[in-house]
Symmetry: C3
């Protein structure tokens, strides 16, 4: 069974952009949902879409469960198993965790979008937006938020 | 050899949004290309882009071959191999297929876009849009379609 | 520590679209960053977003390091390990490298976006946009570029 809801319409009036800087401290998921919501609020966003982009090749973005922290721990484990450090990578000049970080970033991606209704993210009940840090050393990461849509 | 075509231009006039509800019944790919086309038709979409978003963390979206059903079967097998159930996950309170489902959703993603020309999806010959269900139990899933672009 | 920059705003005036045709010659990453920049220049793009879409199911897109070519070699190796040819795929009528190509395309994806500021891609220092060819035979591939945003 499947059904399509009625259609809501708005007029695109605004493109807003800001950069979020996040300091990371080793592998793991860092939730940025509240930062995205703050950006939308300050932008005067109405109906439209939030675009999220990460300006790096050894970290990435994902939308994942924000209820049980064990999920995030297991996601990091899963990525380590898919891209292990001791796998004979040719590129190893930047440390044993660099090439695995690139593989993890390729598999999870650095751009995504979320629908916005009246300035609020149309996320599912259990969804949160996360930056995934893949390197062991501390890093300063830049996330670019953009809103395209109607003004509030 | 590479070449860039001439550029077509339009004026953004419309943001439309609707939610597709899909009932799933175990792991597999469910094609939603016709539902996306119906949404575009009802929206009065012209030139622009279709944004697709899934509001869940244990199912995901992909664009894949719609010719041979064996491809879809093999894609499910591939995901099971990349995220097996008996891999010692910490998070197991929601059943043995829950944590693998989160890993599969992270690897395939919950947001994507497709170009739209005169209200029609600019898909390749063999491309279809699919929801991938990763859980064994029946689930009700929500897909958010959005169109940004010119009106027809 | 995290901080959100000030917000810049623009008015959406333009949707531009063009198709890039690329001939490939076996597995590997092909950089299309300069082609994307050329498209933006010819489109008269100002502030907004570049949307990139690939019309195929056995090739895909990624944003990855453009400094050391060894990284690209290792990324291809990583994908081959995640989707090996001799894994007993049901779908094998189009050659042993076809089903692995579909799996690789599912894991890396065929749509992505990059923010645009004053007509220029807001990529990180080490980021380039790549088409990933997964098939051994030569192929003609089509990439759809779209710009949504303000005119210059």
């Amino acid at each position: 069974m499947r059904s399509l809801s009625t259609i809501s319409r708005a007029v695109p009036q605004l493109i807003a952009r800001a950069t979020l800087r996040v300091d990371t401290d080793g592998p793991g998921l860092i939730e940025i949902t509240a930062d995205a919501a703050e950006f939308l609020r300050k932008s005067g966003a109405g109906d439209g879409v939030l675009l999220v982009f990460l300006r790096h090749t050894s970290a990435s973005l994902t939308i994942q469960e924000n209820a049980d922290p064990d999920v995030q721990r297991d996601l990091v484990t899963a990525l380590q198993r898919l891209a292990p450090e001791d796998a004979g990578w040719v590129h190893d000049t930047e440390g044993p965790d660099d090439m695995p970080a690139h593989v993890k970033a390729m598999l999870t991606g650095v751009s995504l979008h979320i629908p916005v209704e009246a300035g609020r993210l149309v996320l599912g009940t259990w969804q949160g937006v996360y930056l995934i840090e893949h390197r062991r050393q501390p890093h300063a990461r830049e996330v670019v938020f953009q809103f395209l849509g109607a003004s509030r």
